[in-house]
Structures are given as structure tokens and as C-alpha cells.
Symmetry: C3
Subunit: 470 residues, 3 copies
């Protein structure tokens, strides 16, 4: 095997002594298995284990990190083959789409997507040329050849990537048929569902009633009121657990939490069943469901995750033509101290409970999140997330959080991706950045090299394993 | 010519390999022409082309960056010769003022003003001594001699500074007589107006009625209602375009945008004409005018700029005695995601439209502005602005924005100054800092040196030229 | 004396040239006396001058920085011997508590507490081993021996630490009997009170009435209404001054300031006397008292301090069992520009007045606080505080503030601790970090080495002396 064209010391601080220590720390964690307890890869892919059709289908069409940047420069989503929900025709020529991608790949210079793709091209596909206008088609053809081989089947890659646990993300109404199929296939790798109740919680959404009907169906519990709704959710959590689930996840614009009386909750629920729930109802109901989900977690042991701060579908044009998760979500300012006051007073001191907090707003890192995690035993901080799953994002995260919360109130690194091939790239980057962070502490004589090694291992593997009870 | 006493490697990271690359990248852009599409130098200065009277008049009296710092240390603005609007007498002895400046120049250590002034003394005036109590008068006399020479006439300096385009900032009622004079003088350099409608938009300001009267006069359109007001503004934009204008600029405390019906807008307008507009009226009208100005920009092609976040004239004592722009503006928290929701849904996907966003609040950089610019095709991010036009400010800007928006959704560097002599100093600093930023990416193997060179050129010249359609 | 096991170059940037300059600057300030004009060490300790009982009593039980971290990892406060207010029994075996501390000391890796403790163990106790499970008891015994010696009496340590001025923090009702005792003992060191009126200002607190009764008693002024209340506070300020006080301090959740009419203030005051003050009353009264305290400061010359941004006693379970200041305070977002508008317009231009602002929210550093301090002559910025009294906290503080406010609108370093032994560690860390910051400016050719030396001395000593009029 040829030497990689990616520099062995990439992403480390260029100061020679620091870089050397960073590399030593990186080697200590480089080959640890990958734990990925929060992601959006579809179970179907691993259940079916069919070859990926082509590079465009594999890398561009499912990845809004990529096409949002192209869109920002005036390239239409239709021309990139992104499927529409309103019937508008889109580009079908995947070679043409790839050429556009190659023409514009320079836009990703200095971005994490650029870094991950470089890793994917070189480390997964063995491609030694940079993607640009000239090389685009040659690279495409080379990848097409590779994708036809057994080495590039999803399960083979999963094993090659050394993934120990991979979580999918699933609605309560999901029958988990692909998890079932996977299990029945005899494949022994650990791919587990994660309980994501958003569609069942957001009573103002158009799709809420469908989700409720779906849950009624799969749970066999006829949901007529708040009480039967709660019972059905508890039922589904148990079902998810039977497929190995260890966690739940809620995506909320604001983490405001407040318990409603059963009467209040049911009143909103009844309005929702009639399609009359207001935005205010939805906010109150979400706040209540954060409390309820915590209560359930204490009872059934599922780790609770809260991902806060996205204004979903900000760009209505894009949403109406292409649906959700198409790059049009924009973060908003997020407050935790007051919003989680009731939540933390009820559950934050409970040693049976773990809640992992994620944020798109970095300003609470040092102000709110590190002090909260550095005090409440139930709270752990999730990794730097989404737009902040990046080199500078990770640096800011560690620099703003470690001094108040230490590293042991964080969960190490978790990715959050629907781009399967980017998983090893993301973990490799995180391991490099954490090694570099620790090397900086060593170089400044804040910690010793032995401490750094054990902290590095904790960040790459131990903390996530412990926090998610894997 | 003697070697400069300013270090050739100044402002670069001291790590030797990185510094070397930074310098290489800097040399690649150092001599590019200056594009300055947003500033406050007065057209009169270049139209008249008279010698600058003296160093105090040139450097201190027009520059609130300088006297705000002196004021913060208990030195009165009167003693610094800042003209009053209420008739209070001020110091007339410019040598004495300069001595005070010299006595207190140490206050600027570590500030961008300190850095720019060092550049101006050394590179423009050839002064090789540091300004302090002892050298103040000697330096003053030396500068007085220089200012008498032809080499220090405004136009000569303009040419020496290698300025390709300089924008002034002008109210709609401005007849642009100095632009006219400049044009008629046969001087071929490109000094163009920028359409700044703030005085015409802020219906709660005492000066609004004067501005409306002024616009009526210069446009020949009798402004009696909202419709004629809009027509007159459109007329003035055309007039500005006839003098080469390529952009507009709005300074707003909040970027909240919301279209009013013509009836609502006219109702406010009528109240304003009677001097009865409230603060709430003013906020609603401003929000509406952000929508209207975008609509006009799409029609006439002027690039729209929004400068948000200044609480103007925070210090009433200073405002009442000295007027606006005297160092008493203080930034406030600024929200973009929700405030621009309606604006971006109406105009953000329009490929004919360019809006450049500037902020005094840095917290939206990674949270809101980079995600917005990294998605909406119409949006570009303006340079780190005002208090953040500084070494650390530029570092934070690039580090917080690049990973999500890349560099190609920014407009490179633009200054924002009424201090003519600081223009080359500011651009030199920006070119050094961007070179240093890119060198950091090279040193970490995130980009290659060739990419860095083309990105460096984009940041120093190409991006601003393209964004402002120069 | 053996060479310290702490690296001489610790905390400095590892780049060799920069590190060398940082060390040179550090040596220039290392041995300057300590000025500590804001802290929570109790006067009783220095008045009585009795030996410290044991390491657990000395280092763990009084320091919520330490036990909040242990608590966050599931170790109960009872098991750490933290005294309860509700009668719940707690661990009495201090050796056992120390062992728990040793077992978990790894949690502090990378935190300022870890850094300070390392300093205390090595530089104060001469311990050359790292604290961990194995060494815990040996270290404990060693410390016990030391604490019995004269060298470890509070006053001896005070002198050894080279403390020039130490402030305690005292309520208006405090008779300052320990300050009196200290003075009468003939000990000549300067330990002075600081006037902290919070208990007397917060009309919604359960303890307010006790505080008012206490002030009545010690002042001899029968407080029946707002006017007599103000008179009594003025009286107590004079009393504090007679013990050398130079400053006051207010802890507020929000720095909102607004003058009430005497009638409004008295109406709230009367409600409070009946135990009927609401939270809204409390907020209005606090806002008014910020104005009143500033007015008094202008009259009596005490420097005013405002510490803003803590949501006190966020964890009710902890508060109810253990009382305040037990690690359960969580910061909140804090706004200064609008909140201080009235305050600064009335007092900010007054050259007889000094107000020092502290924040737990770092986002206003560059946005609001530096612009305010860089303009209003009365305003100085306090050091990076509490959770931000840390390596990265100090870096962010200087990087965000210096370019707009310079260093001369800050007050250099002040600690804020109830952990007496951490005082020299904290000042040493601050001197190292400021030296490193200045060395970075030298290495980037922004300032010269001579400027850096005088700036370093200002940050370590001169600025705090001047600002606090010591």
C-alpha cells in the first residue's frame, strides 16, 4: 500500500514540540473502535447491503452539508439532482452533477466538509488526485469501479471502518423492520435504533396526526388522549430497547421545560387531535414532554439527548419544494440556565439519570453549559455539533468547556451524520483535534503526558461508552 | 530609501514555518490596488485637493477612534479641539492638542489604532521615532513641513495609496456637488457615492423632515406621501448611479425586516410628516424600508449593505454638545435568523440580488451569519467591522465563519473610515492577517499553498470586486 | 531549597521565542506585592490567627470550586463533609474525605482549580508528589504536620504570600468586630472591609428584614422608611471607611439601573417591611440602588464594583440543604449597553467616580464592555471573573477587550476567593498569563519589549492600585 498523500501530522499545531506530542497522543487512540451513538444513516442500507449506485448518489444527494454550500453560490438544487416533493423535475445525469461538484470543489477549502471528503477520497477510495474540473470525470469513473466491488458493500465498509456501535434515528411509529431484517440476517454487528419522538411531540405539525396514527398501529394502543399517548410512547421505548436502543433524542428549538398538569396536557392533546393546536400549545407541550421523557428515562434507563437551537426550514422555498433537512435550517440563540431550571431541579440530581445536551449556539458553552455540567450529576455535554463539528468548532468547545466542567462531564466525540462514508473521517478528525488539545496542555505544563494519554482515550472511547451505557 | 522600522513580519504568528508562509502569501497580495466600497472620507477633500492644515486637524479631530480612548481616560473632548454644536469653546492650539496626544499615545498600545498610526507615521510620513511626550513637538513640526508639499495633497496621496475605488457615504438629499466637481476637474480616479438613506428612513429623528424636504428639492418630486417618497428615493438612486454608485448602505440598530402594506406605511409616513411618529413607528418603518430597499436593489442592481447593531449616541452629554459620531455609540446584541426571516424568504434566493451583512455583535458569526451566508445565494458577509476591524477581530471572524460559509461567501476586506490616511494601513493589516490565517491552514495541512495563494488574492481583491460589481 | 517540580515556563505559549519573552516579562512582575481588593476570606481567620485544623477543613470544605466538580460526578456533598443547614448528618472523618478527594483529583486535570492546587501543594507545602488514590493519605499526614507549625499560621502565610492589601466582604450590618480585633492586636498588615449591601438591597429575600434590623442596631439609626434606610447605609459606609474600606460591591443578576422617585422607592420599602415585596419590586429596587450607590460613591469616594450575571441557588435541593454559595449558582446572559444607559448618562462622565464592572457572560466583552470602558471615563473593567478566572478565560478576556479598551481601562488582576491558600497561586497564574499575552504582542511586533514591561507591571500592580485608590 502506498503512503497516503494526506500528511500524517495534519490538523496539529505547527509548533514542532507540540505537534510531536499531539501525534504521539493520536497514535494512542487512532485505532480504537468507533462508537457512534447518534446519527442518521439508514438501517435499510445495512439491512439490504446492496452496492452504492454511484458517487453522486453516495456523496452528494444525501449530504446537505455539500449542496447547501453549492446552493449558496447560486447553483440550484434541481441541477444537483436533489429530489423534489412537488414534482419539479431534477437533473438525472449523475456524471453531470459530479462535474458541477468538481468545478466548485474549491468552495470547500477550509471547511470540515472539505477535510472529510479529502479523507474519503484518499483513505476509502485510494484516489491520489485533488478533485477539480479537470479530474472530476476520471475520479468519478474510478469510484464507480470501486463501488461495484465487494469491498465497497455497506457491511464490508462498516467492518473496515471498525465501527463498534452505530445508532440510527427512528420515529416512535417506526416498526424497525430494517433492524429486524438485519438481526434476522445473522449479521452480528451492533446497529441500534434511537428513539426520536419529535414527530409525535410537535402537535402543531401537519404530520403529527399521521405519526399518532402510526404509533397507535404499531403499539396496538388506541391513542385517544394524553394518557394513552404516554402509555404508547412507553410501549414503543420498550420495543426500541428490545432492538438494543440505549438512548432517546429530542430536537427542540428551545430547551424550555415545564411540567403541565395531566389536565392541561390533555386539553392541548385534544385540540391537537382536532387539528387546532396553536404554536403556543406546541411550545407548552414540548416543554412538558421534555419533563415526561426525563421521567421515562429514569424508569427505563434510556439515556436522554437534547439537541437544541435549530430554526428548522428557515427557507420556505426550499422546504416547500424539497422537504426538510435540505440545508435550510439556521441556528438561533439558545438559553439553558432558565429554560432547564425546572427540569434540572426535578431530575438533575438523580444519579440514575443521564441527559446529554447539544447546542448550535456556542455562547452558552462557558456561560451556562459548562457550569451546569460541572455541577449537576445527571448532565453531560454532547460533542461540538453540526456546524461546530469542525476544527475550530472543536477547539472552541474544549477551550470554553474544559476549565469549568473538566473533560469527564463531556461524552467525548459523537458524530451526527447521514453521510456513511464520512464517519471514519469525522472520528479521525476529532481524535486528531482532541490529541492536539491535550498536547497543548502538555506543552504548557498543565498536565503530564500520562494524564494526556488517559484523557485522550477517555475522549475517543471511554466517555461515550460510559455515558451511553454501551 | 531607508529600510522601514516596522518589522517586515509584523502581525504574523511567530512560529517560524508559519510566519514564512504568511509572508510569502502576503507578498502575493501586498501591492494589489485598494478597493474601498464603504467609507466616510468626504468627497470635498478630493474635490478641492487642498493641503491638509496640520497633523491635529488631519489625524485627531476627525477620528473618534482616537479621541474616544483619550476621553475614556478623563481627557475632555473640548481640550482636544473637537468642535461643539452648542457653542462651547474648544481648544484652538493644535500644537497643544498634539502634545496631549503624544503624552497619552501609550494608551493605544495593543489597539488597531496604535497599529494604524504606526503605519501612517512610518510609511506615509517617514518618521522613525515613536510618538511620546518628548517627541511630540518634533514629530508635529516634521509633519507640518511634509503637509505643505505637493506629495501630501489629497489626490497625490490617493494615487500613492494605489486606491482603485473609493466610496463616500451620502444622504439621498445630497446633491453630490463634490462628486460633480471632481468629475468636472478631469481627475480620472474612481471616487463614487454610496446611497445611505438612514436620515430619510428614521421617521422619529428630529432631522427627518429636513431630509425629506431636501430630497424633494434635489429630486424635483414633491414628497407628500409614502408613494411619492418611494418614487423620490428611486429617483435619487438613479442619480447616485449616474455618479457611479454601486451600492446602498443602511445602518440599523436591529435588522428586523417586515413588509408593511402601503396603507400602513403611509399612515406612519403621515404621522411623521406631522412630527408625531413614535419609536414604534420608526422601528416598523425601518423594517419595511429594509424590504423596500431590497426590492429596489433587485430592480436597479445596486448592492445592498446592512450595518447592524449600534446603539447610537449612547452618551447623551457627548451627543448634545458634540453631535453624532463622536465615540459614544455602543453596540448591542443583534439577532439575524428571526429578524431576517421574512427578508430572506422574499429576496434571499434571488440570484439578481446581493446583500452584504455587517455586525457589531460577533456572537452571530458562527451561529447565524455563517449558516445564512452558507445557504442563501443572495447573502454575503461583510468584513469584521468597526471595533472588530482589528487583529484579533479578524482572527475571530475567519475562525468563526470560514468553516461553515467558506471564504467565497464573504466579501474580503473593506475598511470603514473617515481617516483618509489610515486606509492603506488598514488594508495592509487586513492583507497580513488574511495571509496569516491562510498560512495557518497551510501549516495544518488543511489547504495547499497554491490554494492559499488564490484564496489570498480573493480575500484581498477579487471577492470585493465581484460582490460590489466594481 | 529544592528546585520546584513545577516547570518554570508553565502556562506560556510553547513557541520558544515567545516563551522566552513571556518568562522575561514574568520575572519582571513575579515578586511584586499582591493587591487583593475583592475576596471572601474571613477577617476572623486573620484576627484569631489560629492554626488551620486539617487539610480537608482548609482546602475542601470552604471551596465550592472543588466540591461542585466532585458533586457533578455523583459524589454527595454530605460525604464531603459540607455542613448542612437542615440538620442532615455529614461525614466527619476528614481523612476519609481527603481520600475521596485524592481518588477523584484526576477530574481537575485541565482546570484552574487543578493548577492552583498544584501550586499550593508544591509551593506552599513543599509536596513533590501528585495527589491520587495512593498518595492521598501520605500527603494528608504531611500537611497535618506542616499545619501545626508556626510557619502555617494565617498571619505568617499572609506575610509569606507578600499580600499588601486584602479585602474582606461584609454586609452593612456587620459590626466589623474582627477587623477591630485585628487592628487592636497591633498587627500592621492591611486587611480592609468591602461594603457589600446585597442583603440590605434584595427586598424579596427572606433575610432582608434581619439585615435591616441589624443595620438599625449597628448604625443607631431607626430604619422606618426609605429615607432613614439611605441615611443608615451612608452611615455604615462611613463606618467601613473608618476601617480603611476603599470600595463597595454589588452582586446583581442583571445590571439594570433606573432611578425611582423617593415616593416610589419608599412604597416598595414599606411593602418590604410588611414582607409583601414582589420579585418585580425587588428588581426595581435593585435598579434604583445601583443609582443610589453610585451617587454615594461620588460623595464619599468609595470605588463601586458591580458583579453581574449569576442566577443564584439554581439547584434548590442543594440550597435548601446546604445554603448559598455551594456551587449551585449558574450564569445567565447579561446585557450592559441598555441596562446601564441611565446609569452611565448620569454618572459615567463624572471624573470623581470609578465603577468596576465584572461579568460572568463573556459575550459582552468585545460587544459592550470594551466599547463602554473605552469611552466612559468613570468605567473600568474588572478582571476575568469566577468561572473565567482561568487560563483560557484570561486569554479570551485580553483578546476581546484590549483592542477596543486598551489595558488602561481595565483594573489588572484581582482574585475573588474564599480559599486563602489559593491567593498566591491565582496571582501567579494571572501574572504568567498577562506576561504571555504581552509576549504575544511583542512576538507579533505590535508592541516593543519596553512597552511590554511597563504594561506588565501595570497589569500586575499599578492599575489595581490606582483604580481602587489604594
Amino acid at each position: 500500500m502506498k503512503k497516503s498523500i494526506l500528511d500524517e501530522y495534519r490538523f496539529f499545531d505547527p509548533q514542532p514540540a507540540l505537534r510531536k506530542t499531539a501525534y504521539e497522543l493520536y497514535l494512542n487512540v487512532r485505532d480504537l473502535p468507533i462508537l457512534s451513538p447518534h446519527g442518521h444513516v439508514e438501517a435499510k442500507m445495512l439491512a439490504d447491503n446492496q452496492p452504492f449506485p454511484d458517487p453522486t448518489e453516495l456523496l452528494i444527494i444525501p449530504d446537505h452539508y455539500i449542496y447547501r454550500m453549492l446552493y449558496s453560490q447560486g447553483i440550484s438544487l434541481e441541477s444537483l439532482g436533489i429530489p423534489t416533493t412537488d414534482g419539479t423535475p431534477v437533473e438525472k445525469d449523475h456524471r453531470k452533477i459530479w462535474q458541477t461538484f468538481g468545478d466548485n470543489f474549491y468552495l470547500f477549502a477550509g471547511t470540515p466538509t472539505g477535510v472529510w471528503l479529502a479523507h474519503e477520497f484518499v483513505e476509502v477510495f485510494g484516489i491520489r488526485q485533488k478533485l477539480n474540473s479537470k479530474t472530476a470525470m476520471k475520479i468519478y469513473d474510478r469510484m464507480v469501479e470501486k463501488l461495484k466491488t465487494k469491498e465497497f458493500l455497506p457491511r464490508t465498509l462498516f467492518e473496515k471502518f471498525n465501527i463498534e456501535v452505530l445508532n440510527t434515528t427512528d420515529s416512535p411509529s417506526d416498526p424497525l423492520q430494517y433492524h429486524k431484517k438485519m438481526r434476522e440476517s445473522g449479521w452480528k454487528k451492533r446497529v441500534i435504533p434511537c428513539f426520536r419522538p419529535d414527530a409525535a411531540v410537535n402537535v402543531a405539525s401537519k404530520k403529527w396526526m399521521d405519526e399518532i396514527a402510526g404509533i397507535s398501529k404499531v403499539s396496538g394502543i388506541d391513542i385517544r388522549d394524553y394518557r394513552s399517548y404516554i402509555k404508547a410512547l412507553e410501549n414503543r421505548r420498550e420495543y426500541f430497547k428490545s432492538f438494543g436502543a440505549v438512548s432517546t433524542d429530542q430536537g427542540v428549538e428551545s430547551p424550555y421545560s415545564h411540567r403541565l398538569s395531566e389536565g392541561e396536557a390533555d386539553a392541548i392533546f385534544q385540540r391537537a387531535l382536532k387539528g387546532q393546536a396553536t404554536d403556543k400549545d406546541a411550545a407548552a407541550f414540548t416543554a412538558n414532554m421534555l419533563m415526561e421523557m426525563a421521567r421515562m428515562s429514569i424508569e427505563d434507563g434510556l439515556v436522554m439527548q437534547i439537541h437544541a437551537g435549530a430554526f428548522r426550514n428557515h427557507n420556505r422555498n426550499v422546504f416547500e419544494r424539497f422537504g426538510p433537512d435540505k440545508g435550510g435550517d439556521i441556528p438561533v440563540r439558545t438559553e439553558f440556565t432558565r429554560n432547564l431550571h425546572e427540569f434540572l431541579n426535578e431530575f438533575g440530581n438523580n444519579l440514575k439519570f443521564t441527559v446529554v445536551l447539544f447546542t448550535l449556539d456556542e455562547t452558552p458553552y462557558s456561560r451556562e453549559l459548562a457550569p451546569i455540567a460541572g455541577h449537576y450529576p445527571a448532565v453531560k455535554l454532547g460533542a461540538s455539533w453540526w456546524f461546530h463539528d469542525s476544527i475550530q468548532g472543536m477547539i472552541r468547545y474544549r477551550q470554553n468547556i474544559t476549565e469549568t466542567a473538566g473533560i469527564y462531564n463531556t461524552v467525548g466525540f459523537t458524530d451526527d451524520t447521514r453521510a456513511f462514508l464520512s464517519i471514519p473521517a469525522r472520528h479521525d478528525l476529532a481524535r486528531r483535534m482532541d490529541s492536539n488539545f491535550l498536547a497543548g496542555l502538555v506543552a504548557r505544563h498543565i498536565i503530564g503526558i500520562d494524564e494526556a494519554k488517559s484523557m485522550g482515550r477517555a475522549l475517543a472511547y471511554d466517555l461515550v461508552k460510559k455515558a451511553y451505557r454501551l
